[in-house]
């Protein structure tokens, strides 16, 4: 008994230059916002970019990008539709934004299915919005995608960073490259996260201040791209490209 889907995942991604998983140790640190803004920023710089929402039980990039009424085209697989210039794929196309109560093995199976049938074609970057933690999605990405790199998001809280440290330790043990740590939602600069990242031999990419305007931009990428948050994410681009 062999799963034929595993054989073609590499081929589906062979024309993608860079694959970056935007990850975190725990939820609520702004991963989806960072992933969406990062994808849009890269596209704005002239790159071809895909965005894959892999947080199957709690997808949210469709809310940030205002995706409604779209469906992938079916042609020798499925072709992700263009959303604000990004090739975009999310389970919400199939769950119709209803609750998807999936256990680990189901999450894994759904990930394999989507990776096997989605035709990303040529992309400079594929940004993946990951579910938090060290669960199935993280382990599957490490297992299935050669050359994947992780961008790790944290808040200034020790609670968030303690979970990040575990993620970084796992990635280091498995020799998975880490682009660096982004400190998100900063309200009072402290230097704590930078110090911790240095101790963990991980690049500290910078602080992104808490942006009170951000909530108002949901579903409107023009407004999103005018925020202080978005400009902070744009400043990360040299690190993303250069690493």
């Amino acid at each position: 008994m062999t799963d034929p889907r595993l054989e073609i995942i590499g081929r589906r991604l062979e024309k993608v230059g860079n694959i970056i998983a935007v990850s975190s140790g725990k939820g609520g640190v702004g991963k989806s916002m960072v992933a969406s803004a990062l994808a849009l920023s890269l596209k704005e710089k002239g790159h071809s970019v895909g965005l894959l929402d892999l947080d199957f039980t709690s997808p949210s990039t469709h809310v940030i990008l205002g995706v409604e009424g779209l469906l992938p085209e079916e042609e020798y697989g499925i072709i992700p539709p263009l959303v604000h210039g990004l090739r975009y794929m999310s389970i919400t196309f199939y769950s119709l934004d209803k609750p998807a109560p999936l256990r680990g093995a189901d999450v894994s199976d759904a990930i394999i299915e989507l990776l096997a049938i989605t035709r990303w074609e040529e992309l400079d970057y594929l940004i993946i919005d990951m579910p938090p933690g060290l669960g199935d999605a993280t382990l599957d990405m490490i297992r299935l995608i050669d050359g994947i790199r992780f961008l790790v998001v944290t808040t200034p809280s020790r609670v968030a960073y303690e979970t990040v440290r575990k993620l970084l330790t796992l990635l280091r043990r498995l020799n998975v490259p880490v682009v660096g740590v982004v400190e998100n939602m900063v309200m009072k600069p402290s230097g704590y996260i930078k110090k911790q990242a240095n101790e963990d031999d991980t690049a500290y990419l910078g602080a992104v201040d808490f942006d009170t305007e951000l909530e108002e931009t949901l579903g409107d990428v023009d407004r999103l791209s005018a925020t202080m948050f978005y400009r902070s994410i744009q400043r990360l681009l040299p690190d993303i490209k250069g690493s």
Binding site: M1, T2, D3, P4, R5, L6, E7, I8, R11, F56, E74, E75, Y76, G77, I78, I91, F93, Y94, S95, L96, K98, P99, A100, P101, L102, R103, D106, V107, D109, A110, E113, L114, A116, I117, R119
Partner: protein, 135 residues
Amino acid sequence: MHEWALAEGVVQTADRIAGEQGLDEIVEVTVKIGELQQIEHEILEFALEQLRTPTMKNAKFTLESVPGKLKCRVCDEEWRFSPKDMDEDASEAIHFVPEVAHVYVRCPKCGSPDFQVLEGRGVILTSIRGVKKDD
């Protein structure tokens, strides 16, 4: 026609296994197809015919249907399931990603969406038969 994408996986996997086993020619490829995914057998068969590699140029592709069998994790109810009778959107969604069945299907006894797909999920390569030239 995402059957083509799955056919590509079957052909490549069969080729790899033949290489690993030192087979010079593949005679038969057997694929089990779970009803949950509602794969069009004719399209899959056509795709396999089109994608066949030199190693399997005379191979017979045998496709076997496996009925969907689900088991509730809450009350242990087991039931046969086919998405054929569901509304079109739900049925098509399950066709692409069978796991979204958890969005649309409930245990007929207790109503829970927490069930296990025991049999009949998707496409599985069950066996290949081939020959070595020095056999």
